[in-house]
Amino acid sequence: MTTRSEIDNAERRAISELLPWYAAGTLSPADTARVEAAIAADATLRDELEIVREDQDAAFALAEASPRPSARVLDDLMKRVEAEPAKLAHVAARAKASFADWFGEKLSMLAPRTLAYAAGAAALALVVQAGVIGSGFIGGPAQFQTASHGPSGSGATAAGTFVLIGFNSEANAGDMTRLLEQVRGTIIDGPRPGGFYRVRVGDAGMSQADLDRVIQTLRGQQAIVRFVGPAS
Protein backbone atom coordinates (compact mmCIF):
# COMPACT_ATOMS: atom_id res chain seq x y z
CA MET A 1 0.00 0.00 0.00
CA THR A 2 2.83 2.31 0.87
CA THR A 3 4.28 1.93 -2.60
CA ARG A 4 0.90 2.54 -4.23
CA SER A 5 0.35 5.59 -2.03
CA GLU A 6 3.72 7.03 -3.05
CA ILE A 7 2.91 6.49 -6.71
CA ASP A 8 -0.45 8.15 -6.20
CA ASN A 9 1.22 11.08 -4.51
CA ALA A 10 3.70 11.41 -7.32
CA GLU A 11 0.90 11.29 -9.88
CA ARG A 12 -1.14 13.76 -7.88
CA ARG A 13 1.78 16.18 -7.82
CA ALA A 14 2.30 15.68 -11.56
CA ILE A 15 -1.37 16.43 -12.23
CA SER A 16 -1.23 19.42 -9.91
CA GLU A 17 1.69 20.81 -11.93
CA LEU A 18 -0.30 20.45 -15.15
CA LEU A 19 -3.45 22.19 -13.88
CA PRO A 20 -2.48 25.75 -14.96
CA TRP A 21 -2.04 24.63 -18.56
CA TYR A 22 -5.19 22.55 -18.38
CA ALA A 23 -7.11 25.65 -17.25
CA ALA A 24 -5.51 27.69 -20.04
CA GLY A 25 -6.33 25.04 -22.64
CA THR A 26 -2.71 24.72 -23.73
CA LEU A 27 -2.05 21.10 -22.74
CA SER A 28 -1.43 18.35 -25.25
CA PRO A 29 -4.44 16.05 -25.90
CA ALA A 30 -2.73 13.19 -24.03
CA ASP A 31 -2.04 15.30 -20.93
CA THR A 32 -5.53 16.81 -21.11
CA ALA A 33 -7.03 13.32 -20.98
CA ARG A 34 -4.70 12.43 -18.10
CA VAL A 35 -5.77 15.50 -16.11
CA GLU A 36 -9.45 14.94 -16.82
CA ALA A 37 -9.23 11.35 -15.61
CA ALA A 38 -7.48 12.47 -12.43
CA ILE A 39 -9.85 15.31 -11.56
CA ALA A 40 -12.82 13.05 -12.18
CA ALA A 41 -11.47 10.70 -9.52
CA ASP A 42 -10.13 13.24 -7.00
CA ALA A 43 -12.27 15.97 -5.44
CA THR A 44 -9.24 17.80 -4.00
CA LEU A 45 -7.83 18.20 -7.50
CA ARG A 46 -11.16 19.70 -8.60
CA ASP A 47 -10.94 22.20 -5.74
CA GLU A 48 -7.38 22.98 -6.72
CA LEU A 49 -8.48 23.55 -10.30
CA GLU A 50 -10.98 26.15 -9.06
CA ILE A 51 -8.13 27.99 -7.32
CA VAL A 52 -6.10 27.84 -10.52
CA ARG A 53 -9.01 29.37 -12.43
CA GLU A 54 -9.26 32.18 -9.88
CA ASP A 55 -5.54 32.85 -10.28
CA GLN A 56 -5.89 32.73 -14.04
CA ASP A 57 -8.70 35.30 -14.01
CA ALA A 58 -6.76 37.56 -11.67
CA ALA A 59 -3.55 37.33 -13.72
CA PHE A 60 -5.48 38.10 -16.88
CA ALA A 61 -7.25 41.07 -15.31
CA LEU A 62 -3.98 42.35 -13.93
CA ALA A 63 -2.29 42.17 -17.33
CA GLU A 64 -5.25 43.75 -19.09
CA ALA A 65 -5.06 46.68 -16.69
CA SER A 66 -1.46 47.31 -17.79
CA PRO A 67 -0.77 50.15 -20.22
CA ARG A 68 -0.60 49.83 -23.98
CA PRO A 69 2.22 51.21 -26.11
CA SER A 70 1.55 54.64 -27.56
CA ALA A 71 0.99 55.30 -31.25
CA ARG A 72 4.41 56.89 -31.57
CA VAL A 73 6.02 53.43 -31.32
CA LEU A 74 4.56 52.31 -34.64
CA ASP A 75 5.26 55.69 -36.26
CA ASP A 76 8.92 55.57 -35.22
CA LEU A 77 9.16 51.91 -36.14
CA MET A 78 7.85 52.42 -39.67
CA LYS A 79 10.28 55.31 -40.19
CA ARG A 80 13.10 53.00 -39.23
CA VAL A 81 11.75 50.24 -41.45
CA GLU A 82 11.63 52.65 -44.38
CA ALA A 83 15.26 53.53 -43.74
CA GLU A 84 16.32 49.89 -43.68
CA PRO A 85 18.48 48.77 -46.59
CA ALA A 86 18.39 45.14 -45.50
CA LYS A 87 15.46 44.04 -47.63
CA LEU A 88 17.20 45.10 -50.84
CA ALA A 89 20.09 42.83 -49.98
CA HIS A 90 17.58 40.15 -49.06
CA VAL A 91 15.83 40.50 -52.40
CA ALA A 92 19.19 40.23 -54.12
CA ALA A 93 20.01 37.06 -52.22
CA ARG A 94 16.70 35.48 -53.18
CA ALA A 95 17.03 36.55 -56.77
CA LYS A 96 20.33 34.73 -57.02
CA ALA A 97 18.51 31.46 -56.53
CA SER A 98 17.41 31.05 -60.12
CA PHE A 99 16.96 32.87 -63.38
CA ALA A 100 17.57 36.11 -61.64
CA ASP A 101 21.22 35.22 -60.99
CA TRP A 102 22.01 37.97 -63.27
CA PHE A 103 19.75 40.43 -61.50
CA GLY A 104 21.07 39.36 -58.11
CA GLU A 105 24.64 39.85 -59.19
CA LYS A 106 23.82 43.31 -60.38
CA LEU A 107 22.26 44.21 -57.07
CA SER A 108 24.98 42.64 -55.02
CA MET A 109 27.59 44.60 -56.93
CA LEU A 110 25.98 47.81 -55.83
CA ALA A 111 27.50 49.57 -52.87
CA PRO A 112 25.08 50.49 -50.05
CA ARG A 113 25.26 54.10 -51.14
CA THR A 114 24.32 53.04 -54.67
CA LEU A 115 21.44 51.04 -53.27
CA ALA A 116 20.28 54.13 -51.48
CA TYR A 117 20.40 56.04 -54.75
CA ALA A 118 18.54 53.18 -56.40
CA ALA A 119 15.82 53.49 -53.77
CA GLY A 120 15.55 57.19 -54.57
CA ALA A 121 15.43 56.39 -58.25
CA ALA A 122 12.72 53.84 -57.56
CA ALA A 123 10.63 56.51 -55.90
CA LEU A 124 11.11 58.72 -58.94
CA ALA A 125 10.20 55.79 -61.14
CA LEU A 126 6.84 55.52 -59.42
CA VAL A 127 6.04 58.91 -60.89
CA VAL A 128 7.36 57.76 -64.26
CA GLN A 129 5.33 54.58 -64.01
CA ALA A 130 2.20 56.60 -63.36
CA GLY A 131 2.96 58.43 -66.58
CA VAL A 132 3.53 55.19 -68.42
CA ILE A 133 0.30 53.70 -67.18
CA GLY A 134 -1.51 56.88 -68.09
CA SER A 135 -0.03 56.75 -71.55
CA GLY A 136 -1.49 53.25 -71.96
CA PHE A 137 -4.91 54.81 -71.81
CA ILE A 138 -3.96 57.48 -74.27
CA GLY A 139 -2.46 54.89 -76.59
CA GLY A 140 0.74 55.88 -78.51
CA PRO A 141 3.45 53.32 -78.28
CA ALA A 142 6.09 56.01 -78.48
CA GLN A 143 4.91 57.23 -75.09
CA PHE A 144 6.61 54.22 -73.48
CA GLN A 145 9.94 55.67 -74.40
CA THR A 146 9.64 57.44 -71.07
CA ALA A 147 10.69 54.42 -69.08
CA SER A 148 13.19 53.16 -71.58
CA HIS A 149 16.80 54.08 -71.90
CA GLY A 150 16.55 54.05 -75.63
CA PRO A 151 19.07 52.27 -77.82
CA SER A 152 22.56 52.04 -76.46
CA GLY A 153 25.66 50.29 -77.54
CA SER A 154 25.05 46.93 -75.87
CA GLY A 155 22.84 43.88 -76.20
CA ALA A 156 20.00 46.26 -75.59
CA THR A 157 20.31 47.30 -79.20
CA ALA A 158 19.56 43.81 -80.52
CA ALA A 159 16.88 43.74 -83.18
CA GLY A 160 13.49 42.52 -82.09
CA THR A 161 10.17 43.45 -80.56
CA PHE A 162 10.28 44.44 -76.94
CA VAL A 163 8.04 44.93 -73.96
CA LEU A 164 8.68 46.61 -70.65
CA ILE A 165 7.78 44.47 -67.65
CA GLY A 166 7.51 45.31 -63.97
CA PHE A 167 7.29 42.20 -61.80
CA ASN A 168 5.37 42.08 -58.54
CA SER A 169 7.65 42.19 -55.52
CA GLU A 170 6.07 38.97 -54.28
CA ALA A 171 6.52 37.04 -57.51
CA ASN A 172 9.01 34.23 -57.15
CA ALA A 173 11.72 33.51 -59.63
CA GLY A 174 10.19 30.20 -60.73
CA ASP A 175 6.91 31.83 -61.73
CA MET A 176 8.73 34.62 -63.52
CA THR A 177 10.85 32.13 -65.46
CA ARG A 178 7.82 30.06 -66.47
CA LEU A 179 5.97 33.13 -67.65
CA LEU A 180 8.91 34.33 -69.71
CA GLU A 181 9.24 30.88 -71.26
CA GLN A 182 5.52 30.93 -72.07
CA VAL A 183 5.88 34.11 -74.11
CA ARG A 184 9.37 33.15 -75.35
CA GLY A 185 10.71 36.24 -73.67
CA THR A 186 14.33 37.08 -72.95
CA ILE A 187 15.40 39.80 -70.58
CA ILE A 188 17.58 42.21 -72.50
CA ASP A 189 18.03 45.01 -70.03
CA GLY A 190 17.20 45.99 -66.48
CA PRO A 191 16.34 46.37 -63.77
CA ARG A 192 15.71 49.97 -64.59
CA PRO A 193 14.46 52.49 -62.04
CA GLY A 194 11.18 51.20 -60.68
CA GLY A 195 12.27 47.61 -61.29
CA PHE A 196 11.34 47.49 -64.99
CA TYR A 197 12.89 45.02 -67.38
CA ARG A 198 13.15 45.32 -71.13
CA VAL A 199 12.18 41.95 -72.53
CA ARG A 200 12.55 40.74 -76.13
CA VAL A 201 9.41 38.84 -77.09
CA GLY A 202 9.88 38.38 -80.83
CA ASP A 203 11.75 39.25 -83.97
CA ALA A 204 11.79 42.72 -85.40
CA GLY A 205 8.65 43.33 -87.38
CA MET A 206 6.47 41.14 -85.16
CA SER A 207 2.85 41.84 -86.03
CA GLN A 208 0.85 44.13 -83.76
CA ALA A 209 -1.69 41.31 -83.24
CA ASP A 210 1.06 38.95 -82.00
CA LEU A 211 2.48 41.63 -79.76
CA ASP A 212 -0.96 42.37 -78.34
CA ARG A 213 -1.42 38.65 -77.63
CA VAL A 214 1.87 38.52 -75.71
CA ILE A 215 0.94 41.62 -73.74
CA GLN A 216 -2.48 40.19 -72.93
CA THR A 217 -0.86 36.95 -71.73
CA LEU A 218 1.47 38.88 -69.49
CA ARG A 219 -1.28 41.14 -68.20
CA GLY A 220 -3.32 38.07 -67.36
CA GLN A 221 -0.71 37.06 -64.78
CA GLN A 222 -1.40 39.76 -62.24
CA ALA A 223 0.13 37.76 -59.43
CA ILE A 224 3.47 37.92 -61.21
CA VAL A 225 3.33 41.04 -63.36
CA ARG A 226 2.31 44.43 -62.07
CA PHE A 227 2.93 46.30 -65.32
CA VAL A 228 3.55 45.50 -68.96
CA GLY A 229 3.67 47.66 -72.04
CA PRO A 230 5.39 47.80 -75.41
CA ALA A 231 8.91 49.17 -75.47
CA SER A 232 11.19 50.34 -78.20
Binding site: P20, T26, S28, E48, I51, V52, A58, L62, L74, L77
Partner: protein
Protein backbone atom coordinates in the same frame (compact mmCIF):
# COMPACT_ATOMS: atom_id res chain seq x y z
CA UNK B 1 -13.03 36.38 -44.88
CA UNK B 2 -10.30 34.41 -43.17
CA UNK B 3 -7.51 36.52 -41.77
CA UNK B 4 -3.92 35.68 -42.51
CA UNK B 5 -2.19 33.44 -40.02
CA UNK B 6 0.91 34.69 -38.25
CA UNK B 7 2.93 32.27 -40.36
CA UNK B 8 1.52 33.78 -43.56
CA UNK B 9 2.26 37.25 -42.29
CA UNK B 10 5.84 36.48 -41.35
CA UNK B 11 6.47 35.00 -44.81
CA UNK B 12 5.17 38.20 -46.34
CA UNK B 13 7.25 40.32 -43.97
CA UNK B 14 10.30 38.34 -45.08
CA UNK B 15 9.56 39.56 -48.60
CA UNK B 16 9.39 43.15 -47.45
CA UNK B 17 5.60 43.47 -47.19
CA UNK B 18 4.99 46.48 -44.95
CA UNK B 19 1.26 45.92 -44.68
CA UNK B 20 1.86 42.42 -43.33
CA UNK B 21 4.35 43.89 -40.88
CA UNK B 22 1.83 46.45 -39.64
CA UNK B 23 -0.75 43.69 -39.24
CA UNK B 24 1.67 41.55 -37.27
CA UNK B 25 2.53 44.52 -35.08
CA UNK B 26 -1.14 45.33 -34.48
CA UNK B 27 -1.76 41.72 -33.53
CA UNK B 28 1.06 41.35 -31.01
CA UNK B 29 2.26 44.72 -29.81
CA UNK B 30 0.09 45.00 -26.70
CA UNK B 31 0.92 41.59 -25.27
CA UNK B 32 4.62 41.93 -26.08
CA UNK B 33 4.68 45.41 -24.55
CA UNK B 34 3.05 44.18 -21.38
CA UNK B 35 5.49 41.29 -21.23
CA UNK B 36 8.41 43.73 -21.49
CA UNK B 37 6.84 45.82 -18.72
CA UNK B 38 7.33 42.83 -16.40
CA UNK B 39 11.07 43.51 -16.66
CA UNK B 40 11.28 47.21 -17.51
CA UNK B 41 9.07 49.24 -15.28
CA UNK B 42 9.58 52.47 -17.22
CA UNK B 43 6.95 52.76 -19.97
CA UNK B 44 9.05 55.00 -22.19
CA UNK B 45 11.96 52.60 -22.05
CA UNK B 46 9.62 49.68 -22.66
CA UNK B 47 8.28 51.47 -25.75
CA UNK B 48 11.81 51.91 -27.06
CA UNK B 49 12.42 48.23 -26.51
CA UNK B 50 9.28 47.08 -28.26
CA UNK B 51 10.37 49.18 -31.24
CA UNK B 52 13.71 47.34 -31.17
CA UNK B 53 11.96 43.98 -30.93
CA UNK B 54 9.73 44.59 -33.94
CA UNK B 55 12.60 46.06 -35.94
CA UNK B 56 14.33 42.72 -35.39
CA UNK B 57 11.15 40.99 -36.53
CA UNK B 58 11.38 43.01 -39.75
CA UNK B 59 15.07 42.26 -40.18
CA UNK B 60 14.99 38.60 -39.25
CA UNK B 61 11.64 37.46 -40.62
CA UNK B 62 13.38 35.42 -43.32
CA UNK B 63 15.19 33.49 -40.58
CA UNK B 64 12.00 32.44 -38.81
CA UNK B 65 12.01 28.66 -39.05
CA UNK B 66 8.50 27.93 -37.86
CA UNK B 67 9.61 25.58 -35.11
CA UNK B 68 7.58 27.61 -32.63
CA UNK B 69 4.68 29.99 -33.02
CA UNK B 70 5.41 33.52 -34.20
CA UNK B 71 4.29 34.98 -30.87
CA UNK B 72 6.65 32.67 -28.98
CA UNK B 73 9.49 33.73 -31.26
CA UNK B 74 8.69 37.40 -30.67
CA UNK B 75 8.32 36.97 -26.89
CA UNK B 76 11.68 35.19 -26.80
CA UNK B 77 13.29 38.15 -28.54
CA UNK B 78 11.48 40.58 -26.25
CA UNK B 79 12.70 38.77 -23.14
CA UNK B 80 16.29 38.73 -24.42
CA UNK B 81 16.18 42.46 -25.17
CA UNK B 82 14.57 43.30 -21.84
CA UNK B 83 17.17 41.33 -19.88
CA UNK B 84 20.01 42.81 -21.95
CA UNK B 85 18.66 46.25 -21.25
CA UNK B 86 18.48 45.47 -17.53
CA UNK B 87 22.08 44.26 -17.57
CA UNK B 88 23.17 47.49 -19.23
CA UNK B 89 21.55 49.45 -16.49
CA UNK B 90 24.23 49.57 -13.83
CA UNK B 91 21.73 50.02 -11.10
CA UNK B 92 19.55 47.09 -12.17
CA UNK B 93 20.05 45.43 -8.80
CA UNK B 94 19.10 48.66 -7.17
CA UNK B 95 15.85 48.50 -9.11
CA UNK B 96 15.10 45.13 -7.59
CA UNK B 97 15.76 46.58 -4.18
CA UNK B 98 13.51 49.45 -5.12
CA UNK B 99 10.84 47.02 -6.18
CA UNK B 100 11.16 45.27 -2.83
CA UNK B 101 10.93 48.57 -1.06
CA UNK B 102 7.83 49.47 -3.02
CA UNK B 103 6.26 46.20 -1.99
CA UNK B 104 7.18 46.96 1.61
CA UNK B 105 5.65 50.38 1.36
CA UNK B 106 2.44 48.97 0.01
CA UNK B 107 -0.35 47.85 2.22
CA UNK B 108 0.38 44.72 4.19
CA UNK B 109 -1.50 41.63 3.03
CA UNK B 110 -3.75 41.94 6.06
CA UNK B 111 -4.72 45.47 5.13
CA UNK B 112 -5.23 44.41 1.55
CA UNK B 113 -7.63 41.72 2.69
CA UNK B 114 -9.63 44.24 4.65
CA UNK B 115 -9.76 46.71 1.80
CA UNK B 116 -10.47 44.66 -1.22
CA UNK B 117 -12.41 41.64 -2.26
CA UNK B 118 -10.90 38.26 -2.96
CA UNK B 119 -10.23 38.83 -6.66
CA UNK B 120 -8.47 42.07 -5.94
CA UNK B 121 -6.50 40.36 -3.19
CA UNK B 122 -5.30 37.73 -5.65
CA UNK B 123 -4.24 40.45 -8.09
CA UNK B 124 -2.32 42.29 -5.40
CA UNK B 125 -0.64 39.07 -4.30
CA UNK B 126 0.32 38.17 -7.88
CA UNK B 127 1.94 41.58 -8.10
CA UNK B 128 4.03 40.75 -5.05
CA UNK B 129 5.51 37.57 -6.54
CA UNK B 130 9.20 37.49 -7.41
CA UNK B 131 10.06 38.51 -11.01
CA UNK B 132 10.67 34.87 -11.95
CA UNK B 133 7.33 33.74 -10.58
CA UNK B 134 5.53 36.76 -11.97
CA UNK B 135 6.96 36.08 -15.39
CA UNK B 136 5.86 32.47 -15.53
CA UNK B 137 2.38 33.28 -14.22
CA UNK B 138 2.07 35.89 -16.96
CA UNK B 139 3.32 33.55 -19.67
CA UNK B 140 0.96 30.75 -18.68
CA UNK B 141 -2.19 32.64 -17.79
CA UNK B 142 -2.05 35.82 -19.90
CA UNK B 143 0.16 34.92 -22.83
CA UNK B 144 -1.39 31.42 -22.88
CA UNK B 145 1.86 29.66 -23.65
CA UNK B 146 2.22 25.90 -23.49
CA UNK B 147 4.88 24.20 -21.36
CA UNK B 148 7.22 23.81 -24.33
CA UNK B 149 6.68 27.40 -25.43
CA UNK B 150 7.45 28.75 -21.96
CA UNK B 151 10.57 26.58 -21.94
CA UNK B 152 11.65 28.11 -25.22
CA UNK B 153 10.98 31.69 -24.17
CA UNK B 154 12.56 31.44 -20.72
CA UNK B 155 15.25 29.00 -21.90
CA UNK B 156 14.78 26.45 -19.15
CA UNK B 157 13.87 22.73 -19.31
CA UNK B 158 10.19 21.81 -19.46
CA UNK B 159 10.33 20.10 -16.06
CA UNK B 160 11.70 23.32 -14.58
CA UNK B 161 8.82 25.20 -16.19
CA UNK B 162 6.33 22.95 -14.42
CA UNK B 163 8.02 23.10 -11.03
CA UNK B 164 8.56 26.85 -11.27
CA UNK B 165 4.88 27.39 -11.97
CA UNK B 166 3.98 25.03 -9.14
CA UNK B 167 6.10 26.99 -6.65
CA UNK B 168 4.77 30.29 -8.00
CA UNK B 169 1.27 29.06 -7.13
CA UNK B 170 2.42 27.90 -3.70
CA UNK B 171 4.00 31.29 -3.04
CA UNK B 172 0.81 32.98 -4.15
CA UNK B 173 -1.14 30.81 -1.70
CA UNK B 174 1.23 31.81 1.10
CA UNK B 175 0.70 35.49 0.27
CA UNK B 176 -3.05 34.92 0.23
CA UNK B 177 -2.93 33.15 3.57
CA UNK B 178 -0.95 36.08 4.96
CA UNK B 179 -3.76 38.26 3.68
CA UNK B 180 -6.19 36.17 5.67
CA UNK B 181 -7.61 34.29 2.70
CA UNK B 182 -7.19 30.54 3.06
CA UNK B 183 -8.26 28.82 -0.10
CA UNK B 184 -7.49 25.33 1.19
CA UNK B 185 -4.49 24.53 -0.97
CA UNK B 186 -1.92 23.07 -0.74
Amino acid sequence: MQSDSDQDLILRVAKGDRLAFRTLYARHNVRVFRFILRFIKDEGQAEDLIGEVFLDVWRQADRFEGRSSVSTWILGMARFKALSSLRKTTDAELDEEKAGAIADDADTPEVVAQKVDKAQAIRRCIDQLSPEHREIVDLVYYQEKSISEVAEIVRIPENTVKTRMFYARKRLQELMQSAGVDRGWP
